[in-house]
């Protein structure tokens, strides 16, 4: 079905005015059908197909190769408890649209916080100026694309009042106090976020997404014989209000208490290189920092990553498969479309030990001549998309957890982390261990706390000598930062052994 622009604008405009009276599936060669779903997003942002086309034409008017419009409306709420009372509420509304224009791999970008035609044309003109050969651009047929549905929810956060949420926050506080009499202070926060996203590009793709995100966090402070320690726990999903309940509260409360309790008898290991056993779950931070960022194709395109010439080469033992996925049900890192309007995929980064794919956005996928992997993400309409991770994990391996621990004479077992970082070019990555255990003669012995572990990405990947079958996804409140932009991610890992990493600690 090819419709020339002139007839589209006429019928498209008419269709918008009359959409409500047309049956949604009516097809006509003369008429571009806008589904009620996409129509509701156009209405949400007070735009019409005709307006989108005017703005994209302005964006392309200087001879850009490609342009896209990203609309976003985000409503966030946080309810917090301190010193026993739910006594503060925060709400934020953020609204606007960004225009991006590409010329080769050059980018022009500007945004506006209104969606008036005048303001949108103004920022489109600014973004257009990355190119410099005036042309007349005729927007083609509108190609509506329904998004995937990776996060079904039953009760939207927008319909939930403060009154509805207060009891859950209070209950988590009370449960932590109940679990251990050493607890002297508890703080709790419940954050929910709802984003409406509308996307349109110069290739005609028109798509949208509804993104819920909820996080429930607790921190407990305990005192024992004058020593004070604090530990935390959190869960986060793309789920609705139905997510809150007693089981969740019990899980988070118990974990916070355990994470605090372990610190009282904890020591520090002897500083230096040693075997590190990474427990299943949050240890996925190893993949995120040691490999994930260095696999992001923008760094590789610029040849600044330590993995820049490793594509197609063996990078690890052949039982290792590492995946970048944006499709896991209700996962914090999942997205129905990426922020460049692309379908989201599950991609093998490492398959049977061989580096199979980088993590792509549109610019890098073009550069490498591959299909986009759905990893183009942005913090908000104020930012340009970059290749970003979503859920990064390793498939289960052939060994057992017990075998792995028994294999270590002196080393550390770590399973609770707060943060990590990587120098892309040098390949040095780090992650900070909140707590774990010493391994002595094949057994977990004394608890350890507050140590940094540092390694080199390619070396660490090659040094993963064992992986167990106990894979676990970590559903904590992970945020990933890059180029000044933060996006929600998650990660997972089975128990693995890294032969040698440098562990912070005391001098021998």
């Amino acid at each position: 079905m090819i419709v020339n622009r002139r007839s589209f604008i006429k019928t498209g405009g008419a269709a918008v005015a009359g959409t409500m009276v047309l049956p949604p599936l009516l097809k006509s060669c003369q008429n571009i059908q806008i589904s009620p779903d996409v129509k509701s997003y156009l209405d949400h942002f007070e735009v019409t197909p005709e307006i989108l086309q005017k703005v994209i034409a302005e964006a392309m008017s200087k001879g850009g190769d490609y342009a896209d419009l990203f609309f976003e409306h985000k409503i966030s709420n946080t309810l917090a408890l301190e010193d026993g009372k739910v006594n503060r509420a925060y709400s934020n509304v953020d609204y606007g649209m960004g225009v991006r224009v590409l010329k080769g791999d050059q980018t022009g970008f500007a945004y506006t916080e209104t969606t008036s035609l005048k303001d949108m044309l103004k920022v489109a003109k600014t973004a257009a100026s990355i190119a410099s050969d005036p042309v007349t651009f005729n927007p083609g047929e509108i190609l509506e694309k329904a998004p995937a549905d990776y996060y079904k929810i039953s009760r939207k956060w927008e319909t939930v009042s403060v009154e509805d949420k207060v009891p859950y926050v209070q209950k988590l506080n009370d449960r932590v106090h109940e679990l251990d009499e050493k607890v002297t202070k508890v703080s709790v926060s419940l954050a929910d976020e709802t984003s409406y996203v509308l996307f349109y590009n110069s290739e005609g793709r028109l798509t949208y997404d509804y993104r819920p995100l909820a996080s429930f966090r607790v921190r407990s402070v305990m005192e024992k014989d004058g020593q004070i320690e604090n530990g935390a726990s959190a869960r986060s999903y793309r789920k609705g209000f139905e997510w809150l309940g007693d089981d969740l509260i019990e899980e988070i409360a118990q974990e916070a208490v355990d994470n605090t309790n372990i610190l009282f008898g904890a020591t520090k290991p002897i500083a230096g290189e040693m075997p590190v056993v990474l427990g299943a779950g949050g240890s996925g931070i190893l993949l995120h920092e040691a490999m994930g960022h260095a696999f992001e194709a923008d760094f590789n395109r610029k040849e600044t990553s330590i993995f820049s010439d490793k594509l197609g080469k063996s990078v690890s033992k052949d039982f290792i498969n590492i995946i970048e996925d944006g499709t896991m049900e209700n996962n914090r890192g999942s997205i129905n479309i990426d922020d460049e309007g692309n379908d989201v995929k599950k991609t093998y980064l490492v398959k049977d030990g061989v580096l199979e794919s980088y993590i792509h956005d549109r610019i890098s996928a073009n550069y490498y001549g591959v299909e986009p992997t759905g990893n183009g993400r942005r913090q908000s309409f104020r930012n340009v998309p970059l290749p970003r991770m979503r859920i990064t994990y390793m498939e289960p391996g052939p060994h057992s957890r017990d075998d792995i621990i028994q294999n270590v004479d002196y080393g550390v077992y770590v399973d609770n982390f707060s943060n990590g970082q990587v120098n892309i070019g040098a390949g040095d990555f780090t992650f900070f261990v909140k707590s774990g255990y010493l391994i002595e003669s094949g057994k977990l012995t004394q608890p350890i706390k507050d140590i940094n572990i540092i390694g080199n990405g390619p070396q660490a990947l090659a040094d993963i000598t064992m992986a167990a079958g106990d894979y676990k996804t970590d559903n904590g409140t992970w945020m990933c930062g890059k180029g000044g932009q933060s996006v929600p991610v998650s990660m997972g890992l089975p128990t693995v052994l890294v032969k040698k990493l440098t562990v912070g600690g005391k001098s021998a």
């Binding site: 509304v93 973004a127 002297t184 202070k185 610029k302």
Partner: protein, 439 residues
Amino acid sequence: MTKDEKYSIAKWAMAHALKSGAQGASVSISNNNSSRIEVRDEKIDKLEESSRNSMRIALYVDKKYSSISTNRLSNKEELGRFIEEAIAGAKYLSEDEFRTLPDPELYYQGGGKDLKTFDRDFATIDPQQKIKYAFDLEKEVLGKDDRIISVSTTYSDGMSGSVMVTSNGFEGDTENTYYSLVASVSVKSGDARPQGHWWESSIYHKNLIKTGIGHMALKHALDKLGQEKIKSGKMPMIVENRLAGQTLQPLISALNGYAIQQKNSFLIDKEGEKIGSDLLTLVDDPFILSGRGSRLFDREGLATKKRNIIEAGVLKSYFIDTYYGKKLEMKPTSGDTTNLLFQPGENDLEGLIASIDRGIYVTGINGGNSNGTTGDFSYGIEGFLVENGKLTQPVSEMNITGNFKELWNNLVAVGNDVYTGSSWRIPSLVFDKVDFSGI
């Protein structure tokens, strides 16, 4: 948005909140405009322009507290509804006797001097000139060394203006500008592709250092070639002035009222006590002309004061805001730093290095964290091995681990090379007996 427009909306919102059931309100509105030009491969890689508004309203409703913010300022009907809904929602919260607006006696009363934080020339800088600055930096580096694999240079600038009004009598506004130039250079030798960065920034366009930044970034990248990990051990650590703020941050966080009241501080009840070596003297001075942290009032509207935070290792003052002041029964001092001045020493960096027999000069921190409650820390680092007063070997992939209480007691020398490009003005620092983990 002009200042008058901001005041007008802020006062309207405050009046609406009071009319809708709040007994107190504080409203601030800010807007900022910025531009950013990144150059790579002799082309503009990214051209970004930004114009942003935001409004925050703190509501005090029947001893309950709620705070809302939005960037949608143009529709009063919608804004009014947002305020009304927040007031309605606040009813379901618990009362919080400590939550009040500040004591009006502590507010900034006006009449302060011009702190020179705003460049009137901001709007007149030619966009083509901005682009040229970034290209000029790139030219400093391109073709200067065969091992260069990537050069990226960025010009950015911005201006922001904000106003704040409160229902118990505060009114104030601020204006700021900044300009910055950054260069990043990657070089390759073997598998490693180390990156060097350098940057300059200023409040006034005429004061921005516009040359030499590319050279410095290239030098930093080349200096990292051949990085190795060395044997673990306890030795002195010199921290480069631009990084020293990262070692000071956990100490300042531990002095914050929130951290103390929530027992997330390793410096509870330490006022008047020795918490560091005699060389540790910190002054918070809000009134430095063109200081990055200069301001006449803080985010609550409290008048800022010059005050001693730590004198020769003795803690003199915490950072206490109104809310945590009430909870702790302490007088509010302001919850934020302004310009935090570290008293410099006699030696330059070279002199500090020359004084070390064997130690590590740290030029980069890679991840790591600290435990606010206990002061325990562990960070990844890179830098140079110092032997007999000379830099002998670039090192990387190592950790430093310890406790901040001990670390600050082990501060043994302070440089005279204060870095003034940040609101925290700190020289290079030397700490003794630091645990490094390597091989």
